[in-house]
């Protein structure tokens, strides 16, 4: 499609895109140039913003006579407008306005009033308002014609804009309506029939044109060249307006030829369209002209109501386009598509068209007018000053000089300053007042001149009124505009607000969705998956896919879940297997159980049968079994004791059994007491009947108790507190000489301590010496088995508080009854009590018992043996015989003269009162747990008293001797160093006196030693020369020296094989 630049003004007054749409050969012309179709018009066709120009090329010179016209249409679109031009237009508007004002003034002067004497001011104002109302009620399309030039002066106000000389024109834009009416026809012909159509129309239509009967004349026939192709355009003129049209139509209906023509024609057509047009008053009437020419039909679609403005502008602009006679005619649609303007131009050819148009652009004023038409088209609502009467006559093209006749007040509003309008209003009102006053003044004066004067004033005031009216309109327009703007803005705001609300809602919704997404918890998070390393280590690579999942936690989790599923499946499988296994095993167990249950009676019978055998073989399995049964009912400490003692006994038996059996059993353990009672103790609340009866009994008891005195009550409580467990453990410890230590262990339930009672039986009946009374008494035989363990105080510190409650001072008073609560007994029972510092809680502990069992048993045995040994020794000592055993003879010389004459028990208190025992008492070696004896050794007149402290741990702890010699005065360690030395010899050097291993002969040896010492002492005493007679004690002992050292100690040490005495 060729594009032709319609105009190329670089600095952009209009960015134009003119397109040559099509050129058709003129219809019926001989030199008709056939044109190919050149496409369709732009979408702007039919749009109110678009305009369409016809491009014409006249093939023949005179249009009508030759009836051959060449048509063409060219359309372009105007898109935007430069701001610069707007400002320019504003200025122009102002100028126009001022010019108008002058004109009105001039008009007012030119026209006289009919001489009304009424006061003008109020009237004028009221009319002004009325007119304004009318103005606003009127449609935009409404046109005002000042048909009547006479009448009131008000009317004349409306027409003053129009040139007064053109008053005769009754139409605004067109030439008189009655004069000419044009009809334009567009026929779209089937392309193949175009020639036929041309020839057909050429044959028929000129006849109508030439026929005088028909008041119509054919202005031209055209085929489109550029534009809509295969189209024929016919322009008819009806001279005489609508009556002529109607007349013509009626006549044609009866014209047979024409009807046939139509019939024929209709077969060639695709569509038809026509419009009734009026002629613009300022355009030339189309005249036949010499050709050949091209014709350009420019068709504008205007915004409604802009027609008059259009006309005003073009009336001014057309003068610039008259030079080459190119303007053929200007039409606007009356019936048919409205607001359409057709301008028909004729050029020699396209080149000349170009040149002509460029020439027009160079003319000053053309561009402005083009601009105005443009700007009017831009604006939609238009108020058109339509009060200008169109110029009369078809030929008066000079009325294009009426500048400012048509302009848009709406546009003007934007251009004017409201402040200045106000000033103007004030000024006009003043002027009006002044003029009215003058008129009144003139009228009151009267006179001829006055009429002229008055007329003059009237015209002036009319002009002012016009101004007022104008201002009024402007004000209203402004108001309306303001409202519109406000409304518009409000709607915009509402729309935005709504949009905002929507957006906010959307945001909220999205946020909710987001939080929902974020809070989404997958089920897999609750699953405790295997750790990552384990997963990668154990999972097969097709699940773990380390290379994929290492970097991607999501994939990793998926893989781990897969693995989990896999494992769980496997485990489920295993579980099922295990279940079936279990079933199987259960069945097996059932079978075995049955077998076992059948075994029980048989075993019983065998057991029954074996009893006599057991008895016969001394293998008391059954008995032991029973004992163990009973042991179950023992309180924990006794049980511990029982178990440990049994174990120890068995262990010893085993040890012995490896050697030739000397004794059958060293340690035997038994349980005594009523098992039933013990059972009852353990489960009293089970038997409800018993319980009731018990409680009854208790109640009775308590009621009884309440009555008696407090003492009896306390007694009962004491008894309750000191109650023993019904079961006790009996321990028989056999010594080598067949003496047996019977130990009975009790458990005091409420005090949580254990006590023991001891009894010693010997194989042979002993002659009980007087002094040995306490030796084997149950009270003392076990005393101080461990140092300081008297067994007279309770080892449980908690007991003291219990005693306080019931008024027991110490346990000592009850020990005889209950047995002794020795510490070692507690330890054997696994009871550990804190001594000074609080340590452990009291729990029966096997390990404690076990650790003490062996040592304690050994100690017990030693104790019994030593006691028995002492017992024997005492028996001799009481008879004055020092029973030195044969294996100890080496310790002493063969001849010992001093004799033991006395061996008696003395009380602790008596011992304390002895004058020569002070040192021992002070040294703290004379505790009340010891046994005290007094021995007397005599030789001649010398009597040696020896006070003996016998520690319960005898033989490991030696007896302590304190001496007092009665010979030539009383001699003790205080006044005689040798007595002291003798004590030391007996006490300190006791180790060499122990004799063979058990050492039980120590006491005997010490006494024998004492006798020897006394011999030495007496024999080595220096003879006092002053005393008459021989020495009482001749020296029989062999001594190396008599005295030695500063203390002059005598030779008390006996050297065994040589038999002499020496110093230590």
């Amino acid at each position: 499609m060729p594009r032709l630049a319609e105009r190329s003004e670089g600095d952009g007054t209009f960015p134009l895109c003119p397109t040559l749409f099509g050129i058709t050969s003129p219809i019926g012309s001989s030199d008709l140039t056939g044109g190919a179709g050149l496409g369709s018009p732009l979408s702007g066709y039919g749009d109110s913003h678009s305009e369409r120009f016809c491009f014409l090329r006249g093939a023949a010179g005179p249009l009508l006579p030759q009836r051959s016209v060449t048509w063409g249409t060219v359309g372009w679109e105007r898109t935007s407008l430069e701001v610069r031009h707007k400002t320019g237009a504003e200025q122009k508007g102002m100028e126009l306005h001022e010019a108008q004002a002058e004109m009105v003034e001039g008009d007012g002067k030119g026209k006289g009033d009919d001489g009304e004497k009424v006061s003008l001011q109020p009237r004028a104002l009221s009319i002004c308002l009325k007119l304004l109302g009318g103005l606003f009620l009127s449609d935009y399309d409404k046109r005002f014609y000042s048909k009547d030039n006479e009448g009131s002066w008000f009317r004349s106000l409306f027409v003053h804009k129009v040139d007064p000389r053109k008053d005769a024109h009754s139409t605004l834009l067109s030439k008189k309506e009655t004069s000419n009416l044009y009809k334009i026809q567009f026929h779209n012909v089937k392309p193949e029939c175009l020639d036929a159509y041309n020839s057909l129309t050429e044959a028929v239509l000129p006849k109508l044109h030439l026929d005088e009967d028909y008041p119509c004349s054919l202005v031209g026939n055209w085929n489109t060249w550029y534009g809509e192709q295969d189209q024929a355009v016919h322009l008819w003129r009806f001279s005489g307006g609508y009556p002529a049209l109607m007349d013509c139509m009626n006549k044609l209906k009866s014209n047979k030829e024409y009807l046939e023509f139509r019939k024929e024609r209709s077969q060639m057509l695709l569509s038809r369209r026509n419009q009734l047009l009026l002629e613009f008053s300022f355009w030339n009437e189309p005249q036949p002209r010499a050709g050949p020419n091209i014709y350009e039909l420019r068709t504008y679609k205007l915004k409604p109501g802009t027609m008059i403005e259009w006309g005003n502008n073009w009336a001014r602009a057309i003068k610039y386009r008259q030079e080459n006679q190119e303007a053929v005619g200007g039409f606007f649609s009356q019936i048919g598509e409205l607001y359409v303007v057709h301008h028909l131009w004729a050029y020699k050819d396209l080149q000349s068209r170009e040149e002509t148009r460029n020439a027009a652009w160079r003319k000053r004023g053309w561009d402005e007018n083009v601009y105005y038409t443009e700007s009017s088209k831009k604006r939609k609502p238009k108020v058109i000053r339509s009060d200008g009467a169109p110029a009369e006559g078809k030929r008066t093209r000079s009325d294009t000089e009426q500048e400012g006749k048509y302009y848009s007040e709406e546009a003007e509003v934007d251009l004017r300053d409201p402040g200045r309008d106000y000033e103007l209003y004030k000024y006009t009102c003043q002027e009006l007042q002044r003029l009215m006053a003058e008129i009144q003044d003139l009228k009151s004066r009267g006179g001829k001149d006055a009429a002229v004067e008055i007329e003059d004033r009237r015209i002036q005031s009319c002009v002012h009124f016009m101004t007022l009216k104008k201002l009024n309109r402007l004000a209203h327009i402004r108001l309306k505009k303001g409202r519109d703007q406000t409304h518009e803005a409000k709607q915009k705001v509402d729309a935005y607000h709504l949009q905002l609300q929507n957006l906010l809602y959307e945001v909220m919704h999205l946020q909710k969705e987001i939080t929902k997404c974020l809070e989404f918890k997958s089920k897999h998070e609750e699953i405790d998956l295997v750790s990552l390393e384990e997963f990668y280590k154990e999972a097969p690579p097709d699940i773990s896919k380390a290379e994929v999942t290492m970097g991607d936690p999501h994939q990793q989790t998926l893989a781990r879940l897969d693995w989990e599923l896999e494992q769980r499946k496997r485990l489920a499988e295993k579980y099922r297997e295990c279940l079936s296994n279990k079933e199987k095993i259960l069945k097996e167990i059932e079978v075995k159980k049955e077998y076992l249950s059948s075994l029980q009676p048989r075993l019983n019978s065998i057991m029954q049968a074996s009893l006599p055998v057991q008895e016969y073989l001394f293998m008391p399995f059954d008995q032991a079994h029973k004992q163990y049964e009973t042991a179950r009912h023992l309180p924990p400490p006794l049980y511990v004791l029982f178990v440990q003692a049994t174990a120890y006994g068995q262990a010893c038996a085993h040890r012995k059994s490896s050697q030739p059996p000397r004794q059958d059993k060293m340690l035997s353990v038994a349980i005594e007491g009523s098992v039933d009672e013990a059972k009852a103790l353990f489960k009293p609340p089970e038997d409800s009947q018993d319980d009731e009866s018990d409680s009854d009994a208790e109640e009775e008891q308590t009621t009884k108790r309440r009555r008696p005195t407090l003492g009896v009550q306390l007694d009962d409580k004491r008894k309750e507190m000191l109650k023993r467990h019904p079961l006790s453990v009996l321990l028989d410890l056999k010594c080598k000489d067949d003496s047996v230590l019977h130990l009975t262990f009790y458990y005091l339930m409420n005090l949580n301590i254990m006590t023991v009672k001891a009894k010693v039986t010997t194989a042979t009946e002993l002659i009980t010496p007087i002094s040995a009374g306490d030796l084997l008494s149950p009270d003392s035989v076990l005393s101080c088995l461990y140092p300081g363990d008297h067994g007279k105080k309770t080892p449980n510190p908690a007991n003291q508080y219990q005693f306080d409650k019931v008024g027991i001072l110490t346990l000592r008073d009850y020990v005889l009854d209950l047995g002794h609560p020795y510490l070692w007994v507690q330890k054997l029972g696994g009871l550990h009590f804190p001594k000074e510092q609080p340590q452990h809680t009291v729990i029966t502990d096997h390990s404690l018992s076990a650790s003490h069992m062996e040592t304690t048993m050994k100690l017990l045995k030693t104790r019994v043996q030593s006691r028995l040994a002492l017992h024997k020794q005492f028996a001799s000592l009481e008879h004055g015989i020092v029973p030195v055993t044969s294996d100890c003879h080496y310790l002493f010389p063969a001849k010992v003269v001093s004799r033991l004459v006395k061996w008696v028990t003395i009380a602790h208190e008596d011992y304390m009162e002895l004058h020569f025992t002070k040192d021992v008492v002070e040294a703290g070696l004379a505790g009340d747990t010891n046994l005290y004896y007094m021995a007397l050794v005599e030789r001649g007149t010398a009597k040696l008293q020896a006070a003996v402290v016998l520690n319960p741990g005898y033989s490991s702890i030696p007896p302590i001797f304190q001496l007092c010699l009665n010979w030539k005065g009383e001699k003790t360690n205080n006044n005689d160093d040798n007595i002291r030395a003798m004590e030391s010899e007996v006490n300190v050097c006791c180790k060499e006196l122990c004799g063979p291993r058990p050492g039980h002969q120590l006491l005997t040896n010490q006494l024998q030693r004492l006798c020897v010492l006394l011999d030495v002492y007496l024999e080595t005493e220096s003879h006092d020369d002053s005393v008459e007679g021989p020495k009482e004690f001749p020296q029989e002992k062999m001594c190396l020296r008599l005295f030695r050292g500063p203390s002059r100690i005598k030779p008390f040490k006996y050297n065994h094989p040589q038999g002499f005495f020496s110093h230590r």
């Binding site: 461990y786 140092p787 490991s956 006044n975 002291r980 006092d1024 050292g1045 203390s1047």
Partner: protein, 371 residues
């Protein structure tokens, strides 16, 4: 089985044994360190204990400070005698003399510096050493004891130079006459012999048990009255005639002390003050119990022996005071007169107990140090 029993009651048995040992302990000898702050005491078990006098005498003394700082086993038999040189503690008892360094003695595990045994005649029994005497001028140590001889040992070389024989029984005690190099020795035979160190010969013999003090002193030799402050109160009039001898106690001389021409000795015979030049007893002190230690102190004579008391005598024979100690019998007195430690100037007494009594002045017993 017995052994097991002993293991089971270690505490009780040990305690009893210790108590018995203490009960029968006798402290034979004492010696003050050259610095004057420490006291060494030797007992019948052969142990030597070192007490800190300064600690025990200080105002912040506790019970512990009255216990020995160190106790070590020095001899197999009793420690009968100890002396201190400038650096050494010399102890003797069972026939040997041992030397210990004072500087190291306070450390644990102190070893003897040397030991010497005098040349004894072979005997079944090793004779004991009852007395040690230092002769500072000659740098000699004189030992005397069971073999009835005085042995002189050169401290520098450690060799025994000579032996003085004369006593017929074992020697109890020694004393040095400071002016003339003469040594006195007292023995079981009842004689006090005076030996000249230069000639190594016996000079004089006093057999105390043979003498008696006449009721009326004939004269007071003018030679020993002037020039000696102690002679100012010399009694010119004595109580009726007194015999030195006490046959029931024996003849033995247990203690000796000299001061110029004066000698005091005691033992089996009564405690007697002698004038050496004239070999006459001047005063018999009225004390029944045999005395085991005697010494001059200023114008007093201090003596101790059987009985609890430390006796203070005037030269005239008057008993000035009897200050009781804690032991039933005393065997040694020690006066700490070392100028190095004036604050430790005390009298200590020890004997038939494990305690050493400390007298800060002569009036009373302040406290006891104890093994």
């Amino acid at each position: 089985m017995e052994r097991a029993a002993q293991q089971a009651v270690p505490l009780g048995q040990m305690e009893v044994f210790q108590a018995l040992q203490r009960l029968h302990m006798t402290i034979f000898s004492q010696s003050v360190s050259p610095c004057g702050k420490f006291l060494a005491a030797g007992n019948n078990y052969g142990q030597i204990a070192i007490f800190s006098l300064s600690a025990a005498l200080s105002s912040e003394a506790k019970e512990e400070s009255k216990k020995p700082m160190v106790t070590f086993h020095a001899h197999d038999g009793p420690v009968y005698s100890m002396v201190s040189t400038d650096r050494h503690l010399l102890s003797a008892g069972d026939g040997e003399v041992k030397a210990w360094l004072w500087a190291e003695i306070l450390k644990k595990g102190c070893k003897e510096l040397w030991r010497r045994q005098p040349p004894y005649r072979t005997s079944l029994e090793v004779p004991e050493i009852n007395a040690l005497l230092l002769v500072p001028k000659e740098n000699l140590l004189i030992l005397a004891g069971g073999d009835c001889q005085l042995h002189a040992m050169d401290l520098e070389t450690g060799t025994f130079m000579w032996a003085l024989r004369g006593h017929t029984d074992y020697i109890h005690c020694l004393a040095l006459r400071e002016r003339s190099p003469e040594v006195l020795s007292g023995g079981e035979d009842g004689a006090v012999r005076l030996w000249d160190l230069r000639t190594a010969k016996e000079v004089q013999t006093v057999e105390v048990y043979k003498h008696e003090v006449r009721a009326h002193p004939t004269f007071c030799p003018p030679s020993f009255l002037p020039g000696h402050p102690r002679c100012l109160h010399l009694p010119l009039c004595s109580p009726p005639s007194q015999e030195c001898s006490r046959p029931h106690n024996g003849r033995w001389i247990g203690c000796l002390a000299t001061d110029s021409d004066w000698m005091v000795c005691g033992g089996g015979p009564a405690l007697t003050l002698w004038h050496l030049r004239s070999s006459t007893p001047t005063t018999v002190f009225p004390m029944r119990a045999p005395q085991k230690h005697v010494t001059f102190y200023q114008d007093l004579i201090l003596s101790a022996g059987q009985g609890r008391c430390v006796n203070q005598w005037q030269l005239s024979g008057e008993l000035k005071a009897q200050v009781p100690g804690s032991s039933p019998g005393l065997l040694s007195l020690s006066l700490n007169q070392q100028p190095a430690a004036p604050e430790c100037k005390v009298l200590t007494a020890a004997g038939n107990s494990c305690r050493v009594d400390v007298f800060t002045n002569l009036g009373y017993r302040a406290f006891s140090l104890s093994f």
